[in-house]
C-alpha cells in the first residue's frame, strides 16, 4: 500500500499501567510536605517542556497524550515549549515558563543532570514539577515532586533476556548505541551488558557503534557491520528506528528474516509490525503516553493524597506471540 504513517494509538488502547506493587513502597510526598498550596488544575497555568522535536513516534505520542489529556480535563491554559534537543534551550524554556507564571510543570528532561537553576526558581515559587520518561538527579518532594516513567536500565536487562533466549545463550552480538552522552543510551547499554555478563557468559558483545537513534545511521552502521563481521548472530538496537534501519540493511544484503536476531526498545508500530513480519525477534516497550498518569498524579497531589517519589510504569514485551494482536496498542 502507499505511504502510511503509524497513527498514534487512540482511546485507552496502550494506556500506561503503573507497576504493581505501585510506588507505595518507597517514600511518599504530600502537599504539606512539599509546602505548596492547593489550586484548581482546570484554571491553572500548566507548563509542559518537551525535550526533543515531535518528530519520532515516541515524542509525538508523548506530547499528544499530554495535550489530549489536558484538553480532556478542561485545562485551558497549557503552555508547551520544545527544546529542539538543545539542553541549554530547555533550561531557558522552563525558566521562561516559570516567568509566565505556571503553577504546575511537566518536564520531559533531555538530560538528568544540570537542572539546579530551574529547580531553585521552581522551589522558590513552590511550583510542583513532574518529570516524565527521564529522571532528574535531585531530591524528590523538595526539588521536584515526582518522576513518572520507565526504568531504562530495566529495559536493557529485559532486552538482554530476550536476546539470550533468542540465541540460546551463546553467540556474537552487536549493539547499535543511541546518541552518545545520552542517559538513555548509557542505561540501556549498561542494563544489557550487565545482564548478559551475569546470565550468558557464552554471548560475546563484539561490536558497539552509535546509530544516534536514527534509522539511516542504523542502516549504514549495520551495512558496515554485517560486511566485515558476517558471523554476527544478534543485534541489540537501543531504539526501534535503528532496528528498522538494520532491517533495511539486512534486506539490502539479501539476508532472510530471522537469520540475525534483532531485539530493540520502544514499541513503535512499525517495529511491532517488524516482529510480525519476522524481521525483529522482540521489542521491549517504553510507553510514552504520560498524559493521564501525569495529571492524575497531579490531581491526587493537589487533593492532599500522598504521592510516591517515583511512579514506574510497567512496560510490556512484544514478541512473536503477541505482536499481531497488540499492533493496535503500539504507538
Amino acid at each position: 500500500e502507499e505511504p502510511q504513517a503509524a497513527p498514534a494509538a487512540t482511546g485507552t488502547a496502550g494506556q500506561q499501567v503503573v507497576q504493581s506493587p505501585s510506588g507505595s513502597a518507597g517514600p511518599t510526598c504530600t502537599l504539606q510536605q512539599f509546602g505548596g498550596t492547593k489550586f484548581d488544575l482546570k484554571t491553572a497555568v500548566v507548563g509542559f517542556s518537551q525535550s526533543e522535536k515531535e518528530a519520532n513516534p515516541f515524542r509525538i505520542a508523548e506530547t499528544k497524550s499530554i495535550k489530549d489529556e489536558a484538553a480532556k480535563l478542561g485545562i485551558t491554559n497549557l503552555k508547551v515549549t520544545n527544546a529542539q534537543s538543545q539542553f541549554s534551550k530547555q533550561i531557558t524554556d522552563v525558566q521562561q515558563l516559570i516567568a509566565q507564571g505556571v503553577q504546575l510543570l511537566v518536564i520531559a528532561p533531555l538530560n538528568s543532570d544540570g537542572w539546579e537553576p530551574v529547580l531553585q526558581q521552581a522551589a522558590a515559587k513552590k511550583i510542583p514539577i513532574i518529570t516524565v520518561d527521564r529522571k532528574i538527579n535531585a531530591k524528590a518532594c523538595s526539588d521536584y515532586l515526582t518522576f513518572i516513567g520507565s526504568d531504562f536500565y530495566e529495559q536493557g536487562k529485559r532486552a538482554a533476556d530476550r536476546m539470550i533466549e533468542a540465541l540460546g545463550g551463546k553467540g556474537k552480538v552487536a549493539i547499535l548505541l543511541g546518541a552518545p552522552g545520552n542517559n538513555v543510551t548509557t542505561e540501556r547499554t549498561n542494563g544489557f551488558k550487565d545482564r548478559v555478563k551475569e546470565k550468558a557468559p557464552g554471548i560475546t558483545i563484539s561490536f558497539e557503534q552509535t546509530g544516534e537513534f536514527a534509522r539511516e545511521k542504523g542502516q549504514q552502521v549495520t551495512e558496515q557491520l554485517i560486511q566485515s563481521n558476517p558471523d554476527i548472530n544478534g543485534i541489540y538496537a537501543e531504539n526501534d528506528e535503528m532496528a528498522l534501519g538494520a532491517v533495511t540493511a539486512l534486506k539490502g544484503a539479501g539476508k532472510e528474516p530471522g537469520t540475525i536476531k534483532i531485539v530493540s526498545v520502544d514499541g513503535t508500530r512499525s517495529a511491532v509490525q517488524g516482529i510480525a513480519d519476522g524481521w525483529l525477534y522482540a521489542v521491549i516497550e517504553s510507553n510514552p503516553r504520560f498524559g493521564p498518569l501525569a495529571f492524575e498524579t497531579a490531581q491526587k497531589f493537589l487533593d492532599g493524597a500522598a504521592i510516591p517519589d517515583k511512579v514506574i510504569i510497567s512496560d510490556r514485551d512484544y514478541t512473536g506471540e503477541n505482536a499481531k494482536d497488540s499492533l493496535g496498542e503500539a504507538y
Binding site: P3, A5, A55, N56, S206, R215, Q224, L225, P230, A253
Partner: protein
C-alpha cells in the same frame, strides 16, 4: 623575448616546484590509496565486491551534495542549507508518491531548486553573506520539512525502492547517477562559459562585474544548482532508506560536503574548482568512517582520528605561498 623566457621557464619548471604541485593536486588520491592499502591489510573481508558497493552507495549522497557545494565555494560562497534541502526533498517525495515516483522526484527536485533560488537571491541581489543566508535556510527549511511530514514515513512504492536498491551490471543505480552527475559538473566547470564565469566571480567579483559578466545571475544559478543536487541526493537517500525521515536525513551533511570539497583542494577563498578531487575527498572521508566503524573504535576516537586525517589531507593539498 617572450619566447625566450617561456623556453627558459620550460627548463626551470621541471624542478622541485613540480613535486609540490603534484602533491598539491593528487594528495587526496594518495591518501585514498593509503587508506585502501591499510584496509586491505588489516580489515577482514575488505576486498569483497559487496564492500566496495557498500562504500560507494553510502558515499553517493555526500558526493552529489559536494558537487553543488564545490560550485558554490568556487564563487567564494558557502551553502549550509543542503542538509535541510535533503530533508525537504524527502518530505516532498513521500507526499507526492501517490502520483508515482517520477513525478514525486521531480517535485522534490523543484522544491530544492526553489530553496536554492531563495538562498541565491539573498546572496546575489540582497547582498546577504552566504553563510548567514543559508544558515537561515538550514533552520527554516528543516522545520518546513517537519511541518510537511512530522515523522518518519515508510513507503512501499516499488519504483522508488528499486531506484534505491537495484543495480545495473553489479553497480548500484544511484552510484551510476552520481557518476553521471560528476561528469556533467566536470563538463560544466571545464568547458562552459558558465563554468569560467563562476570561477572568475569567485576570483575577483568587481573585476568580473566590470568585465560585463552577469554576476548576479551566475550566483543565483549556482545556488539553484546546489539546491537541485542536494534535493536529488535527498530523494536517492530516501529511496535507499525505503522511508522518508525529514527529521534526521542529511543532518550535518553540509560539514561533510565542505570537508570533502576542501580536502579535495578547492580553496574556500573561491576562484578555483576541482571536481574530481572533490569526489575523492568525499571518498576519503567515507573510507575513513568505514574503517573506524569496522574496527569498532569508540565515538571519541573516531572523531579525533577524523580531525587528524582532515588536517593532514588539507595540509598536503594546501597552496604554498612564494617565499
Amino acid at each position: 623575448m617572450a619566447e625566450l623566457t617561456s623556453r627558459q621557464g620550460g627548463r626551470v619548471a621541471v624542478r622541485k616546484p613540480q613535486v609540490y604541485a603534484w602533491v598539491q593536486d593528487y594528495g587526496v588520491y594518495a591518501a585514498v590509496l593509503a587508506l585502501l592499502l591499510f584496509n586491505v591489510l588489516f580489515t577482514p573481508h575488505f576486498l569483497d565486491a559487496s564492500n566496495f558497493r557498500t562504500q560507494l552507495v553510502q558515499v553517493t549522497p555526500i558526493v552529489i551534495v559536494s558537487l553543488g557545494m564545490a560550485l558554490v565555494i568556487g564563487t567564494q560562497g558557502i551553502d549550509l542549507s543542503v542538509g535541510s534541502v535533503m530533508a525537504l526533498a524527502a518530505a516532498l517525495t513521500v507526499l507526492y508518491l501517490g502520483y508515482g515516483w517520477l513525478p514525486a522526484l521531480i517535485v522534490a527536485v523543484i522544491g530544492g531548486a526553489v530553496v536554492g533560488a531563495a538562498g541565491g537571491a539573498l546572496v546575489a541581489y540582497v547582498g546577504v553573506q552566504p553563510i548567514v543566508a543559508t544558515l537561515a535556510l538550514l533552520v527554516g527549511v528543516r522545520g518546513l520539512a517537519n511541518v510537511l511530514v512530522p515523522q518518519l514515513v515508510e513507503f512501499r512504492n516499488p519504483g522508488l525502492i528499486a531506484l534505491g536498491s537495484s543495480s545495473v551490471a553489479g553497480i548500484p543505480v544511484i552510484v551510476l547517477i552520481a557518476a553521471a552527475l560528476t561528469v556533467i559538473v566536470l563538463f560544466v566547470v571545464r568547458r562552459t562559459t558558465f563554468g569560467r564565469q563562476v570561477v572568475a566571480i569567485g576570483g575577483n567579483r568587481s573585476a568580473s562585474e566590470l568585465s560585463g559578466l552577469p554576476v548576479k545571475r551566475v550566483l543565483l544559478t549556482v545556488y539553484v544548482i546546489s539546491g537541485l543536487l542536494a534535493a536529488l541526493a535527498g530523494v536517492l537517500a530516501t529511496a535507499r532508506l525505503q522511508a522518508s525521515d525529514p527529521t534526521s536525513l542529511g543532518l550535518f551533511i553540509e560539514l561533510s560536503a565542505i570537508t570533502a570539497v576542501v580536502v579535495g583542494g578547492t580553496p574556500l577563498t573561491g576562484g578555483r574548482i576541482r571536481v574530481l578531487s572533490t569526489v575523492m575527498g568525499a571518498l576519503l572521508m567515507q573510507l575513513l568512517a568505514a574503517t573506524l566503524i569496522k574496527h569498532n573504535l569508540p565515538q571519541s576516537w573516531t572523531q579525533m582520528v577524523q580531525a587528524v586525517i582532515i588536517l593532514a589531507a588539507v595540509y598536503a593539498t594546501r597552496k604554498r605561498g612564494t617565499r
